[in-house]
């Protein structure tokens, strides 16, 4: 993951800190935003290689964030991991509609290391 830029958009401070530490240990450059609107702004400015977006956020849902970004020319093709605790079928459907390099993860099923592995995997497929 050397030199790859990853943007995490999630309102959970502790989670983002822990995940950032793990991803940085793998050599990635990690940016964190705790708010959907700020996240969109950052993404469009920096054009990171990968997005990790939490679905349930207070002011703007991760799905809306992704929708807006997918409307952008660059945003159309950036790989995105949607993180949620929503029951599967609805979440799946939501993510599937948001364009191909989108996957959804059920938070309770994944450890931080497993998430890091998934990020690595998705980045590799983009090469």
């Amino acid at each position: 993951m050397n030199g790859k830029q990853i943007l995490i958009i999630d309102d959970d401070v502790a989670f983002t800190e822990m995940l950032a530490e793990i991803l940085k240990a793998e050599g990635a450059e990690v940016m964190v935003e705790h708010d959907g609107a700020a996240g969109i702004e950052q993404a469009l400015r920096v054009h990171p290689d990968m997005l990790l977006i939490d679905v349930m956020m207070p002011r703007m849902s991760g799905i809306s964030v992704l929708e807006q970004l997918r409307g952008d020319d660059w945003g159309k093709g950036v790989p995105a991991l949607l993180l949620t605790n929503m029951t599967q079928p609805e979440a799946m459907a939501a993510s599937m509609e948001k364009g191909p390099p989108t996957e959804y993860l059920l938070k309770t099923d994944w450890t931080l290391d497993q998430i890091s592995e998934k990020v690595k995997q998705l980045l590799a497929t983009q090469e």
């Binding site: 605790n85 938070k107 290391d113």
Partner: protein
Amino acid sequence: MRLFASLLAFFLLIAGVFLVYENFASRIETIERDPIYAQETAQELLQYLLLAAIGAVLLLALLIYTVLSMQTSARRLAYKISRDISFTKEQFRRFYELSPVPYLLIDPKGVITRPNKASLRFFGEVEEELRGQNIFEYLSHPEKPEKITRYKDRTARRIPVEQKEVQVTKRSGEVRWALLSIENLDSQEEGQTGLVTVVDIHEQKELDRMKTEFLSLASHQLRSPLSNLKWYIDFLLKRRSSELSDEVQGYLQKMYRRNQDMIELVNTLLNLSRLEMGRLQVSKEQTDVAALVDSVVEELEPEAHDKNIKLDQSLTGDLTFSTDGKLVRIILQNLLSNALRYTPAGGSVFVRGSASSSLVRIEVQDTGAGIPPEEQSRIFSKLYRASNAKEIEANGNGIGLYMCKSLAEGLGGSITFTSKLNEGTSFVVELPR
């Protein structure tokens, strides 16, 4: 009957005439030889002729009477039929008017000509207002407005509309979900070519929406703290172990496992809720069940290893078939973790998969505590835990087997078991191909 009698009389008359003729024909010779017999013969002939005339008149009367009475019967029958039809029409009119289901008669353009009482209530209009309106003006669809246009078009082309979900805007402005059907009527009357049925399904739609929302919310609310705990504990164990004593690490590991139990419980509860609410979606596709078994066994390997239980499998035959892998996985996970939970150290758990042309059979066998015979009939009930199970493992939700049975049956299959106390239990799941 009477006709038959008349015909019979007619033929008798003919026969009579013939006999008389015969009688007199032979006499003519005698008269030619001896004219004295002529007067006698003439008198006799006159008598016969008189009888014949009377007979003919009677016959004619009988015939006229028969024809007349047939006409009367026919007329009476026609009258009865027309009265029956009027009565039936009246009945139907009443059924139509008094039906609790909203009915409306429309013309091909959708103009309402005949709304029944229930439809007036449904649309919140009086008859004079509703009649003459176009029904399609009251209908809408929130996501796909083009559907209404399509139904309008179909109606114009006399193609039926079958049970379509639409929204109806009442006079009051209230919008309600309804099921719309438009049937063709072979009617000569201009404004009555279509029968519209509107069934209010608003309550059901609302309930449905609430169920979905509830499940989404519940799952999120319950899972959030659990996923956080999972990460905190995992992070400490993996990234801060140098700062933690062995004792602390030991406790953290216990905490992690307990948290995982909770996560599993929440998953089970949510699946159960979805099942009970009828929200469980069974989506079948070609599934390699052998790979599923492999995956679940691999998942539970660490636990088996920790408990020093031998976990093995044997899979034969073609185990790829159309089913819902997600649900099969849940059944396997439940059966296997049960087996591990109730088998003491040194025991073994064996998974056997086999197939026939019509069935796929998966057996989970353990050398565990077994299920007491008197409790076996209740083992699949909700929240039931066998007495010896509670002794072995205080924590257990009693939902697992109930869920397995419901899921197996939901997939069209079955689940059975055999068990011997202190020897072991074997659960068998059979699913149709």
